[in-house]
Amino acid sequence: MESRTFILKHKLPIARVEKYWKGLEEGKVYGTVCKICGAKYYPPQVDCSKCYNSEVEWVEISGEGTIECFTQLHSFPQGFEFVGRPYTIAIAKFGDFKVMGWYEGDIPKVGEKVKIKTGKDETGVWKVYFEPWGELNEHRL
């Protein structure tokens, strides 16, 4: 038998980190730095988990990043069928910040240099993209 249909759709309270989401629309990726103890946060947060103060500075993450790890997904989760092709997720390091993003290319290499960009997908969700710095890697799949 089948159960009754049950749709779960949540509201996301982003009021305190609105600057981040606005920033993506302006092509900027922000992290936060605690004004009291200097702890750095990406994803950004406005309460410091280290010193328990809530005064942070918003800083832009830019420049040259280095890929630390990646994967290319061939089995898609519910909600991402729209992509319609394998997509590549990577974590790249920009100075003191590590950032997750979609890699614009096929298969990256660990250690590869990337530029940070923002953009929105077909469903209207803004996110971070990594653009290969140099030439694209050979097509492996």
């Binding site: 790890c69 994967t71 089995s75 989760p77 519910q78 069928e81 974590i91 590590k98």
Partner: protein, 388 residues
Amino acid sequence: MRVGIIGVGCSKFGVRDDVTLQELAFEAVKEAIEDAGISKEDIEMSVVGTAGTRSYELMPAVPINEYCGFTGKGPIRVEAACATGSAAVYTAYSTIKSGIADVVIAIGVEKMNEVDTPTSLAVGGRSGSYLWEFHQYGTTFPGYYAMHASAHMARYGTTEKQLAMVAVKNHRNAAKNPKAQFQKEITLEKALSSRYVAYPLRLFDCSAITDGSAAAILASEEKIKELGLKDQAVWIEGIGYSSDTANLSKRIDYVGLKATVEASRMAYKMAKIDDPVKQLDVAALHDCFTIAEIMAYEDLGFCKKGEGGKFIENGDSDFGGKIPVNTFGGLKAKGHPLGATGVGMVYEIVKQLRGEAGELQVDLKNYKGLTHNIGGTGHFGWVFILGV
């Protein structure tokens, strides 16, 4: 006061669309009670470990507890992602240690096949830090471990072939385990030619989507003496736990799991283990993906960091090797029903230490074994040392 395990039970793992969550839990509970040789009435408290969400029963602890006849005795419901079962055993242990109860049952159960595969992948992917990972990037569980594999391969030269060797070993063992989801061997060629699920992980690098249950009955040393069960008790000699960040972007690196390192350090100290490979006879490691088993060899100190690939290649984790790992088939081939997995590991190590593992029995010299259970990608880490 020591705490011992006096009875264990485990259902057949696999696609269990023949039973409800409650009926599935009942299978393991019944076997555990019969194994202990006690009466159901001797059990004073129940702990129900189930990660949930993939089953239509959204708050399943009480329905499970009712069906197993423990109404009024608990339940305490615990959740620690893929390490939920270990959190259940820990809670049972703590309840006894605190003096609240003398006999406690830890029940781990999961039904993951009540939803389709894309939904199951979404539940796993949403279990990191939803807003910053899944919502934006569509992460999946295979994807999280694949990211670790990419880093491990780049730094240490670990190969796809070495990953596949973990799958081949664990399938070979599962072929002899009647409780396993996949009772069949696979070849290296088959593993290496299977499709990518999350590059660089292929289909045979991944555990499947599994339904299953396991149960363990724990009791205080005094109660064990009173019940006359000293000969069958397996003692919990060490417990270690840790955790890591929800956001992968906050991790130091991606070549190992800090939660494993910290949990094992704590468990080894408590159980007085300084050379795990020499002092342990058998180990159940968290091989939800083949890379996870390779990282676990290193993080648990079975070999040096970066040498996990060589460890499998040399047969060090096979029967007759330095320390047989996942003799029961592991999560990879026995199956990985999240809530049941940690309790299922305890079930398998208890069977080994009692010399009841049949064709899969290891040689016992120290009469000590280890279970290593990870929730998420090191979001939770548990290590138990069991001994007789």
